[in-house]
Structure formats: C-alpha cells, structure tokens
C-alpha cells in the first residue's frame, strides 16, 4: 500500500470524526478544539496533494490565527455554558439529517459519474511545482490573478475598519450645556 494511501485512510476518519465531534459538543470551547483537529487533518491532505504552501498557510492562518480569534471571543463572551438544544421549528432536525444524507449520496453519485473512483491523479506535478510550490503559486498569483489580489488587500483593510467600528462601545453624547455644568460643578 503506498504511503499517501495510508496517510489518507488514517486522516480521513479523523477529520470526519472531529467534524462530527464539533457538531455534537455542547461546550463551545470543546467544539473549537475539535475544529482545530479538523483543520490539521485538512493541512495533511494538502501535503499529500502536493500543495505544501497551502499546508503551511492552513496551519498558520486557520489553526493558528482564526481559531485563536474564535477561542478569544468564546472566552470574552463566556459562552461556555452549553447550548439550548430545544427545537423551535417543527421537524427541523429530521429534515436536516435527511437532507444531509441525500446530499452525500448525490455527491458520491455525481463524482462516480464524473471522474470515476479509479481515476488517479496524473504524475508530473513536480514539473508544475518548479522550482518550488510557493514559487509556482506566486507565479500564477501575480501573473493571472494580480487584480483580485489587490482587491483582497482593500477587502482586508475594510474588514479591519469594520471590526473596529462594530467593536467600539458608543459613549453617550454630551451636550455643551452638560459640559459647562460639569465645569461649574468642579470649579
């Protein structure tokens, strides 16, 4: 059995189990930790799919930055006391599960009709990844996708400003008369 097959069959069940764990955990902190496990599994898949740059980015950005942000907000809000699991919509849960099963079956059938379960990836990705994967990604990024790249930088700035605006606590407006009254009071 080739090595990447072994890696796949070890990490695929772990990734699915951690996703289910995230789904079932009542405690938000536990769910976040399960999600970190899932992100690490996906990073390993990127590695066996010959994308080591995305492997590093996945661990740094997702498992590192984004999940730390999530945990930080969970701690900030103190919402670790578990979820209210009462359903308010009738039959939402069984319908959702039926829909999920139908969706998985549909994807499996579509993949079988489309590319088939025996199609192996062609060799020769090393030639594409010359001289290295990061360089290959940079070549495509800065030649073919330069405008979207610049737009993303604007998007990030807007997101940072939006977070600041949403996060600030609004102080009550103080009128000039109140200010003068305060000065008179202190004098």
């Amino acid at each position: 059995m080739p090595l990447d097959n072994v890696v796949f069959w070890v990490f695929a069940p772990i990734s699915i189990a951690s996703a289910i764990g995230m789904l079932l955990m009542r405690n938000a902190v536990h769910a976040a930790l399960f999600l970190v496990v899932n992100f690490f599994c996906l990073a390993v898949f990127y590695l066996i799919l010959d994308a080591p740059f995305l492997f590093a980015v996945q661990i740094i950005v997702y498992a590192g930055a984004i999940m730390v942000l999530f945990l930080f907000v969970i701690m900030l809000l103190g919402v670790d006391r578990g979820d209210d699991l009462r359903e308010r919509l009738v039959a939402q849960r069984p319908l959702a599960i039926a829909l999920a099963i139908a969706f998985v079956v549909e994807i499996t059938l579509a993949v079988r009709a489309g590319i088939g379960f025996s199609t192996l990836a062609p060799d020769g990705f090393d030639a594409v990844n010359q001289p290295g994967n990061a360089q290959a990604v940079a070549r495509v990024l800065f030649r073919g996708y330069f405008f979207p790249f610049e737009v993303t930088s604007i998007l990030l700035i807007i997101a940072a400003i939006a977070a600041m605006v949403l996060g600030q606590r609004k102080a009550r407006a103080v009128t000039q008369a109140e200010l003068e009254a305060m000065e008179v009071g202190s004098a």
């Binding site: 990734s15 995230m22 789904l23 942000l69 060799d123 594409v128």
Partner: protein, 101 residues
Amino acid sequence: MRTPIAYFIVLSGILFTLGTLGVLLRKNALLIFMSVELQLNAVNLALVAFSRMHLEVDGQVIAFFSMVVAAAEVVVGLAIIVAVYRRRGTVDVDQARGLAG
C-alpha cells in the same frame, strides 16, 4: 500519488455536509460560524484536489483567496457576534427575533 482524486472530493462533500448540518442544527451563533468555517475548508479541499488532478496551480491560488476572504469574514462576523452579545446578552440565534411578526 496513488490515492484516487475522487476520494478527496467525496471527503470534501462529507465535510461540507457536516458543516451544513452544524449551521442548520446549532443555536449558538459562534458554533454556527465555526460550521461555516468547516464548509469553507471542505470546498478548499475540493479545489486543491482538482488542482492536483488537472496539473494546474490555479486551484491552489483560488483556495488561497478563499482563506484570505474567510479571515476577513471571521473578523467582521465575530465583531457582529460581540455586538449582538452586548446588546442582548446572549448569542442564541433563536433569541434574535426582533424582526419576527
């Protein structure tokens, strides 16, 4: 590489479905948000797998863009959740029914 690409696509579909279930079934806004992250990651896996199959790096570039957009989305989304928590004292989405008739 001897693992068929279809396995990765099906795995990505399963993870996406689990993320969808999380969005549909959970009440905590933070957990719904984490499920959305799971969905985004599942789609990234499919993009990278197709990139490997077609011997093109473009799929990886798109996955990279989707990570950047997801980072921006997390920043804004968590800020909104914090703002909702300050106003209502809860992040239960069923409590946010100010527009209900």
